[in-house]
């Protein structure tokens, strides 16, 4: 499970980490994710989800991924239903509290068609942190005494050599590929994040390959004017794809809030018959659209404008 330190360094050494143009299309970026890879997603719940990249992977009929994220929302359902992944590692998995427990997640896990591997939220964070730090584990003080720890593969307790206390060790997570959506970055992959950063910075450092999708590509000069705002460095990034509304129908801080009516539609479509509902949703919004703009058109202009109006309002007094 935990990668050997020298292997990890070797993989890093083999990457072209130079300051070079990495801009490509969604379809080209999808080719950088092999079937069966372990993939980490940036963002959290319905925020800065790398939806466009997942959309491209689903359309490319990729399969067998093991996917981890801080918290999974509707994208987790779509991973299961499309077959892109049947093994999800996360701390919480459902569309969102206001929509109740995900029917699709329930249908797949309760019938043992898919795995939902549960860790505490801090454990997810420290697993990525250990991966980012180049150490095999991190010690922590939660999960003990619960049932969660018994079902978390690789977690184990140790006696602290300094204090004699019992601590929990969680193994490093170094994903093969990280998919992260950001507000802006340059062609080299220097990314500036607005608002909540979630676990993205650690994920980028931990991964052996990083694909950034971005609302817009800005010049390297613009990045260099505010280097303190650069949260993900070009040297970790392998691909840059410009995708406006790349988290739709989820949120991208300061630009658009979640598309609530569409989220309601999704909940309705999957409420009665989760299998059929999710398949219909995938057909209509993932397989049929001719491109990303067509996907957004199908969600609808009124919804998009509403989400954008609410999103930009965060900066109003």
């Amino acid at each position: 499970m935990t990668q050997s330190y020298l292997d990890l360094r070797q993989k890093t050494r083999e990457r072209d980490r130079s300051l070079r143009d990495k801009v490509m299309s969604l379809e080209e970026a999808a080719k950088l994710v092999p079937d069966g890879a372990s993939v980490a997603l940036g963002g959290c719940t319905a925020s800065r989800t790398p939806m466009a990249m997942l959309w491209a992977l689903i359309r490319a009929r990729k399969t067998g991924l093991t996917v981890s994220r801080s918290i999974m929302s509707t994208e987790g359902d779509l991973l299961y239903a499309s077959g892109l992944s049947r093994h999800i590692i996360t701390s919480w998995f459902s569309q969102g509290i206001v929509w109740g427990v995900s029917k699709v997640m329930r249908a797949y896990t309760e019938s043992h068609r898919a795995t939902f591997e549960e860790w505490s939220h801090m454990a997810m964070g420290l697993r990525y942190r250990a991966g980012a730090m180049g150490v095999p584990f991190m010690p922590m003080r939660s999960m003990m005494g619960s049932g969660v720890v018994d079902r978390a593969p690789g977690a184990r307790t140790m006696e602290c050599p300094f204090t004699g206390e019992t601590l929990l060790l969680v193994p490093a997570l170094n994903p093969d590929v990280a998919l992260i959506h950001v507000q802006r970055c340059d062609a080299y992959g220097n990314a500036q994040l607005d608002g909540l950063s979630f676990m993205d910075i650690d994920i980028a450092m931990a991964a052996n390959r990083v694909i950034l999708t971005t609302e817009r590509i800005v010049s390297n000069d613009q990045i260099r004017r505010h280097p303190d705002q650069t949260k993900i460095g070009f040297f970790t990034v392998d691909a840059v794809v410009e995708v406006p509304f790349g988290s739709a129908p989820h949120e991208c801080y300061g630009l658009y809030e979640p598309f609530y009516s569409h989220m309601d539609l999704y909940a309705q479509m999957t409420a009665k018959d989760p299998d059929k509902g999710a398949a219909e949703y995938l057909e209509r919004f993932h397989y049929e659209p001719k491109d990303w703009a067509d996907y957004l058109s199908r969600i609808g202009m009124a919804e998009l404008l509403d989400a954008q109006r609410r999103g930009s309002g965060i900066y109003d007094d």
């Binding site: 959290c44 701390s91 964070g125 969660v148 676990m199």
Partner: protein
Amino acid sequence: MTTEPVRTAPPLAAVPAYTASELLAVMSARLLKDGQTVFAGVGIPLLAAILAQKTHAPGLTILFEGGVIGPFVEAGKLPPSTNEQRCTRRANMLVSITEVLLMLQRGYVDVGFMGGAQIDRFGNLNSSFIGDADNPKIRLPGTGGGNDIASLADMIVAMKHEKRRFVEKVDFITSPGFVDGSDSRARAGLPAGGMFRVVTDLGIMGFDEATKAMTVVALHPGVTPQAIKDNTGFELPVPADVAVTEVPGDVELAILRELDPARLYTA
């Protein structure tokens, strides 16, 4: 878990001026003290924390799992989770999820505050599996930060008081309370924090100093000891001289309704 809750004495029948959720929010808000730092989940905990800010605790600092420190959430714009931009309104500081959870571990949080699906005599919470974990009847969403908060802070839990939710032993411990009672929590590796109060629509519960079993601290107006007995799946003693809470005030209810006009969390 198939037993439907039986209510012999509906507590709200006599005072239909507020919903059970509003009662929960008001009673929980009153437990928070000015100057405290509270790690709040979305829903009733968030509403209660904002209500406390707007009444007796203007200096209450709210922390959200999404990485938010000290926000003032806007009325009518309640966030659907603790990870959306709405949570960050007028915050002092935004950090990563991992950093905010590490603040909890470092000891900067006074109170952890969340809802619960199922709780047992020792305050253990389940939000993972109904039935056997290997073959669950219902797969629930899981811990999120719940396990971390319950492991590392003094806890207030707000939930509906129903027999199927108040069980002798939870199907699965997602977020540990006092584990098997007495000092078993510390022995499991959790020397700090633990259950402080459980607020329900029937009353306010605490935990015995020595055994760490749940006890009744106060009943809401009109609630009888029999109602506690009928709606609890384990023995929950009501002391003869048990306190009675004060009904939600007009100001408290008005603030809640302004905060949640669409009744997302207070229906």
